[in-house]
Amino acid sequence: MTELQAGQGAQPLEVPRIDARPQRYRDLLIALAAFSVLALLPMVFGSKQLLDFVIRCAAYGLFATSLNLLVGYTGLISFGHGMFFGLGAYGFGLMMQKTGVPIPVAFVATLAITFVVAVVIGAICVRLKEIYFAFVTLAFQMLIHSTILSWQSLTGGDQGLRGGIPRPPFLGIDLSNHLHLYITSCALLVIGLLLMRQIAQSPFGYTLRMIRDNATRASFIGIDVWRAKLVIFVLAALFAATGGIIMALFVSGAYPEFAYWTISGEGIFINMLGGVTTFLGPMVGTVLLLILNDTVTRLTEYHGIVLGIVILFFAIGLRKGLMDFVVEWFAQRRGEGRG
């Protein structure tokens, strides 16, 4: 019976409630509003630095939020999710450099490649539990990283993809124009978040929560646990790859660090920082980490120490992410207000 009871020990987490009223368009409206604000930003602040910051937030935010679909929603702690970020960057960069196809074609083709790779790797990984899942994903990450390093003729080895990625205009969009790149990144971010929100709130999203809470029970209400895990593994990979594509466009290249394990480590840390129990937690975490990184790097060359202490503060001190903290605080206030 131990197997059947295994899920009982799961920590009860606060999860977003299903709202009784149909709010089909609420998320869409929020997304449109957010996009409008981001799109208008360059008119108010012309600072290139700020726009660069938002583009980086888009790349890492898509990556971190997709990781949360695995970690927070499904309980799959992937330590190799960064491989798909790297795959997206390299796949897209190579496609543009070697074939000269239009950008949208390269975009779709990169996602198609990611899809195939994620299906193969996912099919192997999702059979394993907990720490072993973490290890085998880490191993695949390192495998891809060392392939990139060693396949010098194609990837440029440890030098990365150099010489710039050609960005020919398409449909009136010229991604070598900084403003166009900015708007496109924002659009990809908002669309990506909207899609992931949809997944999280769909019946499938609740299937994932059930698997996280108690996989055995889930299989006894007719859920094919392995299949559901594989589906979310692949979907998350696609969003991570999109983040990688934005990054490749931004730096006009791709570097082995994009596929290194530290990207996965940072993704996990971002999730922790922002909190895994709210959908936008990872997005908040992304902004925080990037600000933190930029500030600390400017102030001291020892930014590892500062970053480490911040992590310790959240992991040992707060014991939760910032958004978890905020949500709980509000819930408490509301509770007091009623009582």
Binding site: R127, A134, A139, S150, Y302, L312, A315, I316
Partner: protein, 303 residues
Amino acid sequence: MIFVDLDALASCLASPACLVTQTTSGLIIGMLLFLVAVGLTLIFGVLKVVNFSHGAFYMFGAYFAMTAYQLSGSFALAILSGAVGTALLGLIFERAFMSRVYGRDVLMQLLVCYAFVLIFDDVVRMIWGPEFKSMGMPAAFQVPPLFIAGGVVPPYYLLLIGVALVAAVVLGLGLARSRIGKVIRAAAHNPGMVSALGINTGLIYGGVFALGGMLAGLAGALAAPVRSLTPGMGFSVLIESFIVTVIGGMGSILGALIGALLIGLIRSFGSLGFPLFTEGLMYLFMVIVLVSRPTGLFGKEVA
């Protein structure tokens, strides 16, 4: 793309001299990895914690040894300070930080370790500087290499293998025979039992961390004369030790030994046959083992 150079591998396998040279270099890689990995596996076995910052002990061991050697000129003292210094570090690290996250979810434990990977690397950078350092070969070993069946074997390699072997045997016997060893093994099997016996679990846990730190520090100190020292040197060793423990089976000491030797040999012979894909070869091997035997070669089946 030159992934494969099977001719080089084949011609080496046909030559005794090359076989000896490659095997020796595989053995020293393997023995160093074993010392790091066995601590990792012990800590996991007893505490059920994956010490992601274990590579830092290896790094500190090397730096402590270098400093001690530069100050005293004594190689023995260098090795000793590497081992003892990291043992203390392990004890402090466990009592002050890791003990706060036992029983919490894996994510938190990994994060605390991740934080220390960042912190320790920067601490080393602060104290010893960011550039590559070298301890230099002790005078006693600056002698012509031995030739065994035509293969070149530096005498220091023999010492290194010897010391690591002694450590392995002492550790194995200690765990099998001594009272404290029995308690540690019991704790690995059934953590609840130890506290039921009235033994201070905090002491055992701290002790295991100190032991693990000491072994990794010993490995770092032994490696110091033959490797260049740099902040971040712990990480590649950590990743390889992970592979070793996962291949051998988390919690298994014999598994760590076999796994380490396998990885050492894969590295040394793989560098001939697959010069650019040696690391990839290790990960590939790990994936194959994990897929066919998720708990590793010597791991206990998860009930």
